[in-house]
């Protein structure tokens, strides 16, 4: 479906046409849900949180000034709502190694992964990402899968752009290290 710019639908909603909000929901529901499900790792709860995020955004739409992109503003609401909902849970994952040394060589990893079938590649990456803490999993998804810019990721998560870059650098290294270990076990 071809959508118009968000500002068109926002103006319609603010003009009293509530049905126009449905288009905004359809347009952004998948990423709002993805953000919630990555943070909460629970499909049912994530759907509820995604709905809450849209309702909050609707209630606050008149205060949206258009200084940031509407999508970033909406995703930020979804992110904060999901974080608040999942805050009671204790972290279950080990902290990322802070050293700057890279303990992997892509020269060894690339050919092995390329030799795998697509299904094996999917299983490998899903398994590796599943081991990461929720927020780290989300950062990788936003940047590499959804191709959001550093600035957008920073707006959504509330981290500074420099912090996002550092986190992505460490996550990338961790993924490769874990990938190398997994491939060594397979051999």
């Amino acid at each position: 479906m071809n959508y118009r710019d968000d500002s068109f639908y926002i103006a319609q909603v603010l003009d009293g046409n509530q049905a126009a909000f449905a288009t905004l929901v359809e347009k952004h529901q998948q990423l709002v849900f993805t953000i919630a499900v990555k943070i909460l790792r629970n499909r049912e709860q994530a759907e509820e949180i995604a709905q809450d995020a849209f309702v909050k955004a609707y209630a606050a739409l008149s205060s949206f000034k258009g200084e940031a992109k509407f999508s970033s503003w909406l995703y930020r609401i979804a992110y904060n709502t999901a974080i608040s909902a999942g805050r009671r849970r204790k972290p279950e994952y080990a902290a990322i190694d802070e050293s700057l040394t890279e303990n992997y060589t892509t020269d060894e990893i690339y050919p092995q992964v390329e030799a795998m079938s697509q299904q094996e590649q999917i299983e490998l990456i899903e398994n590796l990402m599943q081991r990461l803490p929720e927020e780290d999993n989300l950062l990788l998804t936003l940047y590499y899968k959804k191709e959001k810019s550093i600035a957008e990721v920073a707006e959504i998560t509330g981290y500074s752009q420099a912090n996002v870059k550092i986190k992505l650098f460490r996550l990338r290294r961790r993924l490769y290290e874990d990938m190398q270990q997994t491939l060594e076990k397979m051999v």
Binding site: Q18, A19, F21, A22, V25, E26, Q29, Q30, F33, T34, V37, R43, A46, E47, A50, Q51, F54, V55, K56, A57, Y58, A59, A60, S62, S63, R76, I77, N80, T81, L100, T101, E102, T106, Y110, V113, Q118, Q121, I122, L124, I125, E126, M129, L140, T141, Y143, Y144, K145, E147, A162, K165, I166, L168, F169, R172, L175
Partner: protein, 140 residues
């Protein structure tokens, strides 16, 4: 290894292609309708769960108790003697002055009148808090 060089070393087509392969959970059918059904209730929900509302009633209670114990005139005279209050007094001198005069000339001792005044002030506080929460939905 140079830290700055590594920090910028995040663009990775291999990783991007691999992560794009990973499955994405799809939002269930009827999601939009579920959201739209909740929208008409936004105002009611906001009234029922608004965090500011609890604060309003809490402050209302404290104000009424203070009015009962100190009396309106004494509250004004006490406020007027606080140093930091003098700044506001200068800024809004005429308003506060007439308010203070009104209290001293009328000699309000009726709790009912004090409650009405407290309620008016709380209504304004409520408006300010609601505006703040509406502008910061991510703070809730």
């Amino acid at each position: 290894m140079d830290n700055n060089k590594n920090i910028h070393n995040i663009d990775d087509d291999f990783l991007k292609r691999l992560i794009k392969l990973s499955a994405e959970e799809q939002v269930s059918a009827g999601f939009t309708q579920k959201v739209m059904q909740q929208l008409p209730d936004v105002q009611e929900q906001a009234v029922a769960t608004e965090p500011s509302r609890r604060w309003v009633w809490f402050v209302a209670g404290v104000a009424v108790l203070a009015a009962i114990f100190f009396g309106g005139e004494e509250i004004i005279s006490r406020l007027a003697s606080v140093e930091s209050f003098q700044v506001y007094r200068q800024l809004f001198g005429s308003v506060i002055g007439s308010f203070s005069k009104g209290f001293s000339t009328i000699h309000i001792s009726s709790i009912g009148v004090l409650i009405i005044i407290a309620t008016g002030l709380l209504y304004l506080t409520n408006l300010l808090l609601r505006r703040w929460f509406d502008r910061n939905p991510s703070a809730t």
